[in-house]
């Protein structure tokens, strides 16, 4: 299974080679077919498990160690649920890649598209096959990344870039919540392996972190699956070329969230919180999605919003969690993937063959492109939930589940019925509007699509019909085990095309009529509901936009406040922090700190030297002449040297004298070029700075007084005094320390000097002239 996942990445790597390969060079779409062989093979490989996994309900586990110390492994799990998804991903992937070969024929970035599509497919496969939360998350994020690049495929257009960014931010933002949730889940369950986690339902439900972890995971899933309030990114992601949209929206990425919820249902599901969040949000999303679909006119937009509806439905069903609901969810999932995949490809064909991108500019294409029209119609029927298509099966089950929902049945049912009606309208818009009526004026003369592009819609739409007719078989071979996987136990619910006359059927019939009526007054309906645009102004998309603006503003403000460019403010903050920390700690320990104030042992000449030093320091600080300041530095140098001398440090004293002399020479050499001091700051600022400076100084004084009063241990220097002559053969202990006991310090020190000299040379001799990097 690892190979199944990795092969996608490998193919992605060689895609550019294949794309440019000489035998295929004449017809670039040829590469599409070649590369499509990979998903085809994968599809067949997964299909070969239909008997064992699908029919017999086996679970195949495969594990490769990755980071065992952290409980992260590359473990894969092929059960009904992952098989269903894997088949959808690889199957639809086959058509998409083949389609892309033709759709973007001659496009300069076609090779990159292959790379991205294949990587994306591989990531999706990894996601649905992973049995380890963290590796699942890895693939989860990979799908976000690849989809970002796919959505931004036409990256030279700004809207395209913005949409890609929006999708990325929403899904990644959710991804972060998901990560936190996963970490909590792993902590609560003691493992990241799904196989282990899902069997600990009780433990998880009772865990103190159940609610937060659930909410975090749900946020992650919702953002990916475009649940309200994250639904807005999906239609915007329509900037992508059609094969991309189709792939993203039919089978794959957007369903990742649904997949995750379904996957975790046995472990986390079944609580009121679960049902409440998933059920209500799902239902609301379903309604919003379909409502907005009807309100839109752009071909892809309509399809995208209808996808939102489907995702809402799925979420709602998983939230309800009853056997019927789970069955409905799986059926709906399959149905949606088929018809939506077909319809997106059809949308692409319309765009490709006519140049139209809006339903308002379509009509009457049936004669020019009959095959497309036919299969578009079939897919639309499935979308509308019309018998005998598989969509019908799914919709009936959905209505049944909603009606029997243990919680919030009334709300859910109301929304479900409303959505069913609008769903029919959407189906009509898609299935009727472009094909019938007056022939619309188009940029391109309508023509039938080539086989590579037609293959997808034809097969997928046909499957909608075939599967609908063989619903029980589908359950037996495929959905049954998936349902078991989601529910955590086998389900006694049979899938069939015909349930007899019951309430759901009635609702279906009513909604069919109502939906078609609504289609008839589509324009009017859209006009009548224009008021909802006002709502959009305060809707989640606006939140997103505002957040983006807020980030810019807040960050600019913060930078203005903090990174002012004024060294003195930086110093104020730095030193202020230091003083605050030191003083606060001193205050905390005020009882055990012992300030030593003892002036009894002073000698007058020491006081005088110190006094002159102090006065010189004052002079250096307040003089208005820089030359006086330098002279004051000289005085400081001499007095410091005297202090060192008075306290038994001849080497220091000599060094100080020499360094001071050279410092003065350096300053004098440099000052020649510089202007005199100008009084730059007004008095109050100088007082403020002086205040801070005095506080810093006082802090250092306090520190020193307390350290003078405290000596915890004897100094190690007695060792040097004792060993200098006998072991190091030197009588000047300071020098012996420098060149023998602590050679490394001195070594570092001379390197500092050398570095300073090198820097100085560079500064003086190196003028900024050449700009080459």
């Amino acid at each position: 299974m690892l190979l199944a996942v990795l092969s996608g990445f490998l193919f992605a790597c060689i895609a550019p080679v294949v794309h440019g390969a000489r035998p295929l060079a004449k017809s670039y779409y040829g590469a599409g077919w070649v590369l499509a062989m990979l998903p085809a093979v994968l599809f067949l490989w997964f299909a070969s498990h239909l008997r064992s996994v699908g029919l017999n309900g086996e679970v195949i586990l495969n594990s490769w160690t990755w980071i065992p110390s952290l409980g992260i492994s590359l473990s894969f799990r092929l059960d009904g649920l992952s098989l269903l998804f894997a088949l959808l991903i690889s199957g639809i992937g086959f058509f998409i890649i083949a389609y892309a070969g033709r759709y973007l024929e001659g496009h300069k970035d076609q090779a990159r598209l292959y790379v991205l599509l294949l990587s994306f497919m591989a990531s999706m496969l990894g996601l649905v096959l992973s049995d380890n939360l963290i590796s699942l998350f890895v693939f989860w994020e990979l799908t976000s990344i690849t989809s970002y690049l796919l959505v931004g495929f036409s990256h030279e257009d700004k809207p395209s870039r913005l949409s890609a960014r929006q999708g990325l931010f929403v899904t990644m933002g959710g991804g972060l919540a998901l990560l936190a949730g996963f970490v909590m889940l792993g902590m609560a369950g003691g493992s990241y392996e799904l196989s282990e986690l899902l069997s600990q339902r009780e433990l998880l439900h009772d865990h103190a972190l159940y609610a937060p972890m659930l909410i975090l995971i749900v946020i992650g899933a919702f953002s990916k699956s475009a649940q309200f309030p994250f639904h807005f990114w999906l239609p915007n992601a329509m900037a992508a070329p059609t094969p991309v949209s189709a792939y993203l929206h039919s089978a794959t990425m957007v369903k990742a969230g649904v997949y995750l919820l379904a996957r975790l249902n046995p472990g986390l599901g079944g609580t009121e919180l679960w049902t409440m969040i998933l059920g209500l949000v799902g239902a609301f999303t379903m309604f919003i999605g379909v409502f907005l679909a009807v309100r839109s006119t752009g071909i892809k937009k309509v399809l995208a919003y209808s996808t939102v509806m489907a995702l809402g439905t799925l979420t709602m069903l998983i939230g309800i969690g009853t056997p019927t609901a789970i069955t409905a969810a799986m059926a709906f999932l399959l149905a949606h993937s088929l018809y939506k995949g077909a319809l997106f490809l059809v949308a692409g064909i319309i765009g490709h063959s006519t140049g139209s991108k809006d339903f308002m500019h379509t009509g009457g294409f049936r004669s020019a492109m009959p095959v497309t029209a036919l299969f578009a119609g079939v897919a639309a029927l499935s979308l509308g939930g019309i018998i005998p298509l598989f969509g019908f099966v799914a919709k009936e089950l959905m209505l049944e589940a909603v009606l029997d929902a243990p919680l919030f049945s009334a709300v859910l049912s109301t929304l479900a019925v409303a959505s069913a009606i609008l769903g029919v309208t959407v189906a009509a818009i898609v299935g009727i509007r472009p094909w019938y009526g007056r022939l619309a004026e188009t940029k391109v003369t309508p023509h039938e699509a080539p086989p590579a592009m037609l293959a997808g819609p034809v097969v997928l739409a046909s499957l909608s019909l075939v599967l609908g007719l063989s619903a029980p078989l589908v359950q037996q071979w495929l959905l049954g085990s998936a349902i078991t996987a989601v529910h955590g136990a086998p389900v006694e619910k049979n899938l069939s095309l015909w349930h007899g006359f019951n309430l759901p059927l009635l609702i279906s019939a009513v909604s069919l009529v109502a939906g078609l009526l609504l289609f008839a007054v589509w324009r009017g309906f859209r006009r009548a509901t224009r008021f909802t645009d006002l709502l959009a102004k305060v809707g989640p998309e606006q939140w997103y936009e505002r957040a983006m603006v807020a980030i810019t503003h807040v960050s600019a403000w913060q930078t203005r406040m903090l990174q002012t460019g004024y060294l003195r403010y930086y110093l104020m903050i730095v030193l202020g922090s230091m003083v605050a920390l030191v003083l606060s700690q001193m205050w905390t320990y005020r009882d055990s700190i012992n300030l030593l104030i003892d002036v009894s042992d002073l000698r007058f000449y020491e006081v005088v030297v110190a006094g002159v030093l102090g006065a010189a320091v004052l002079m250096a600080a307040i003089t208005s002449s820089r030359l006086s300041a330098v002279a004051a530095l000289g005085a400081i140098g001499f007095t410091v040297a005297l202090l060192y001398l008075l306290f038994s440090a001849p080497d220091l004293s000599i060094t100080q004298v020499l360094v001071e002399t050279l410092t003065v020479i350096l300053l004098v050499l440099v000052l020649f070029r510089l202007p005199g001091f100008i009084k730059l700051s007004p008095t109050h600022l100088r007082l403020r700075d002086a205040g801070l400076a005095v506080i810093v100084g006082a802090t250092m004084t306090l520190l020193l007084l307390s350290v003078n009063g405290t000596q915890y241990f004897d100094s190690i220097s007695s060792y040097f005094i004792a060993e200098s002559a006998p072991s190091a053969y030197g009588r000047n202990i300071v020098n012996v320390i420098l060149v023998d006991f602590r050679t490394l310090d001195t070594l570092g020190e001379i390197f500092v000097l050398a570095l300073a000299a090198t820097g100085v040379l560079a500064m003086i001799r190196f003028r900024a002239e050449d700009k080459d990097l």
């Binding site: 931010f169 990174q563 922090s577 307390s706 560079a762």
Partner: protein
């Protein structure tokens, strides 16, 4: 253990000698280049051997000059130090190779190579030394080398940035020096293990806690922690990009390392005021850094601010003070060195092709240089913490540690900051790589002449490394874990150095 091996000193001696030789051969570019490549490669190899050595033998100690601890200076390598030295080696090799293609004759003539070597020596010295004052000395070596590298070129922006950089870093050095002096006055010793040992014996260590604050501030400045980071964004974008990359990769990490070292061995951190403080510092560092980046529209400035925010994650590892957290922090350091250096180097290539660092003026790189774009994506997504790159696991570790410690706000901050990092990376991607360039001010050099190829190679190397660090996480995590366990058990360190059990 007291295992003595020359391996311990070589990561300092080699760059010191390389630097000295490069200074001797300052007239010959060729010699300097050869020394540059050989010296850094040797450094990498030796540091790899050092890691292996520590892995096998635990903490190793060398008593420089043959003087017993705590009297002489000891070099100590636990796993933290060894792995930091190894990361320095990686940084060194990339810089040296990238420099072959990118550094101009004049830069070479005025000391790029010796400065680079000595910067590395300072960094490694700081990592390996077991003596507080010696740490100060190596900090200064590193600092002055960085000063000189920073101004190499002499442009106005460099001078302006350098003045702030120099002033603030010198203030921090003065604080550090004062803190060391006070600590010496209190304890009469400078050896870290001895300090830890003696302070551990104290009943009343009021003044120690006070002085610890000075260390926190001094190293906080070096590490560019909130609110002490100002010098970094003011200057890091001004030098040549090979230099920026080296700085970004290494300098602040040394400050972080020092915090890790000092607040485990000398002032154990658990349940102290300093720890609770550091939690706040970590969070605020992340946030202010990332917001700073969000406000920028210049390639390298964005990257510079992100250094700050990433420091927050590393500090978070220390602040949480659990084995996992510290391992996470350590892994984060390693990851950041790779990813951040890579990004800076990429910005240099972009500059070479497009002649600007301003997002506004850039564009079209994805179309013209897809390989470069891919490398950027890898490094940028790694920085933003996306799987399966090293950044993801770095983030994962600290977040998991945060969750385990129930540090909810810190976890939330870390996650949000991860998002904001993505924000900035996407901004760069969209503007520099996706967008069409309006006007190109320079004539791009021929696409693949020798220098560019070497630059490319280093960038690719780093990108592959960040992938590899993610994929081969297990051994790295074990190393980080070992480092963390050693850090959290100062007794082992003390015993290795002093031969006494506290």
């Amino acid at each position: 253990m007291g295992h003595t091996t020359a391996l311990l000193a070589l990561p300092i001696i080699i760059p010191l000698l390389s630097g000295a030789l490069s200074l001797i051969y300052w007239r010959s570019r060729k010699a300097q280049r050869i020394i540059g490549v050989l010296g850094t490669t040797a450094l990498l190899v030796l540091s790899g051997m050092l890691v292996a050595e520590v892995w096998q033998h635990g903490i190793i100690v060398m008593h420089m000059g043959g003087w017993q601890a705590p009297f002489g200076i000891v070099l100590v390598s636990d796993m933290l130090a060894a792995s930091m030295v190894f990361m320095t080696g990686i940084s060194a090799v990339t810089t040296a190779f990238y420099a072959l293609g990118s550094v101009s004759k004049r830069h070479e003539h005025f000391g790029f190579y010796p400065l680079m070597h000595l910067l590395l020596a300072g960094v490694n010295g700081a990592f390996l030394t077991g003596d507080m004052f010696n740490l100060y000395v190596w900090f200064e070596v590193m600092l002055v080398a960085s000063f000189a590298l920073l101004i190499l070129g002499g442009e106005r922006a460099q001078m302006e940035g350098a003045i702030k950089y120099v002033a603030l870093n010198l203030v921090s050095s003065a604080i550090l020096l004062s803190a060391i002096g006070l600590l010496y006055g209190l304890t009469g010793t400078l050896n870290m293990a001895d300090l830890g040992y003696k302070i551990g014996q104290l009943e009343d260590d009021a003044m120690i806690s006070v002085v610890a604050m000075l260390f926190l501030v001094a190293f906080g400045i070096k590490a560019a922690a909130f609110p002490l980071f100002f010098w970094l964004p003011a200057s890091y974008h001004t030098p040549r990009v090979a230099v920026s990359a080296l700085f970004a990769g290494l300098l602040t990490k040394v400050g972080v390392y020092a915090l890790f070292r000092v607040f485990t061995v000398i002032f154990p951190f658990e349940d102290t005021f300093a720890q609770s403080l550091l939690i706040w510092i970590a969070g605020l560092t992340m946030v202010t850094g990332v917001l700073g980046a969000a406000a920028q529209f210049e390639f390298r400035r964005i990257l510079s601010f992100h250094i700050v925010s990433q420091i927050g994650y590393m500090l978070m590892g220390l602040a949480l003070y659990s084995p996992l957290a510290i391992a996470g922090g350590i892994y984060f350091i390693a990851h950041n060195i790779v990813a951040k250096s890579g990004l800076f180097l990429i910005s240099g290539l972009v500059y070479r092709f497009k002649g600007s660092y301003e997002l506004k003026e850039l564009g079209g790189v994805y179309r013209q240089y897809p390989m470069l774009a891919l490398m950027f994506l890898i490094c940028a997504f790694s920085l933003a913490g996306l799987p399966p790159l090293s950044g993801f696991f770095a983030k994962f570790l600290v977040i998991r540690a945060g969750v385990e410690a129930h540090a909810w706000w810190l976890v939330a901050t870390a996650l949000a900051v991860g998002f904001m990092t993505l924000y900035s990376m996407v901004k760069i991607w969209a503007e520099v790589f996706w967008k069409e360039q309006e006007v190109c001010h320079i004539k791009p050099p021929r696409k693949y002449h020798g220098g560019t190829r070497i630059m490319y190679a280093t960038v690719i190397g780093l990108a592959l490394l960040t992938i590899a660090m993610g994929l081969a996480m297990e051994p790295l995590f074990l190393i980080a874990q070992m480092a963390a366990e050693q850090l959290l058990d100062p007794a082992g360190y003390i015993e290795a150095v002093l031969g006494v059990t506290p």
